[in-house]
């Protein structure tokens, strides 16, 4: 388990949990990223709601950008998939998270924190499918 990073995982996770909790407490909204993105694609509701969503997404990009620019962190983001796979994966993730009303943040963190049965089922579905599919990609097709 040479790649295992328990401390940074716990610390980063705690920050994600804090951000999700504060978003509900301060703004009364669920910090589900697919939901926030989906909300930006609709013209329903007041403009102020969309500005808030845009502010959240901007914060999500700018904060890591600052960490990287100041070289405060040694992080990477390596995509090893081919172009067709990247595009197909993006389409499926976008479609699937909207159809299932949430992703790792909305169902996995916010939903489980509310002890929502719906979110528990959704989390089991995407974790299960993710693991099964990784097995097929890495050890059946790739192996």
């Amino acid at each position: 388990m040479e790649n295992f990073t328990p401390y940074s995982a716990l610390l980063g996770g705690a920050l994600i949990g804090l951000a999700s909790g504060l978003y509900l407490l301060l703004n009364g909204r669920i910090a589900g990223i697919s939901g926030i993105l989906g909300g930006l694609l609709t013209s329903k509701g007041p403009t102020s709601g969309r500005v808030e969503k845009l502010a959240f997404i901007s914060g999500m990009i700018i904060a890591p950008m600052i960490l990287l620019a100041l070289t405060l962190i040694d992080a990477q983001s390596i995509v090893s998939a081919s172009w067709p796979v990247i595009i197909a994966a993006g389409l499926i993730v976008g479609f699937g998270t909207r159809l299932g009303s949430g992703c790792t943040s909305g169902h996995g963190i916010c939903g489980l924190s509310r002890l929502s049965a719906r979110s528990m089922v959704a989390t089991l579905c995407f974790m299960g499918a993710g693991m099964a599919s990784t097995f097929v990609i890495r050890h059946v097709i790739g192996g």
């Binding site: 994600i16 700018i62 995509v79």
Partner: protein, 149 residues
Amino acid sequence: MRILASAFCGALFGLGLIISGMTDPQKVLGFLDIAAIQTGNWDPSLAFVMAGALVIAFPIFRFAQSRRTAICGGTIELPKRRDIDRNLVIGGLLFGIGWSMVGYCPGPAISALAFGHIETIIFVIAMIAGMIVHKLMMNTLDQAAIAQK
């Protein structure tokens, strides 16, 4: 005030994602690859991220749910649905498959834009396109349902 709070929460969220290592697809795939348990190369980090997040979020959610209004004004809006329907399951399964193909889920993909890699940008554009396809499909189904009445 709400916009500022929103940007602050987004920033914390993004910091959490990059510190936890989840902005790296290889880290995520290292978790999803449970066959690696046998070889001792499995990376349980993602489970620790979830655990760390839940331990902090759970009590704050409890407190927030006991309130009627949000601190920055407005109501506390929680999902009202309780039913477990076909879309929830199929959507979840599809998302899991797409997640495993690259190693990006929506949050980490957005924060990973900070690296400026073209692969990430294309993934995010495709992801948003997938969301638009879903929206168009739902609109068409709604209109068909109205026409039937």
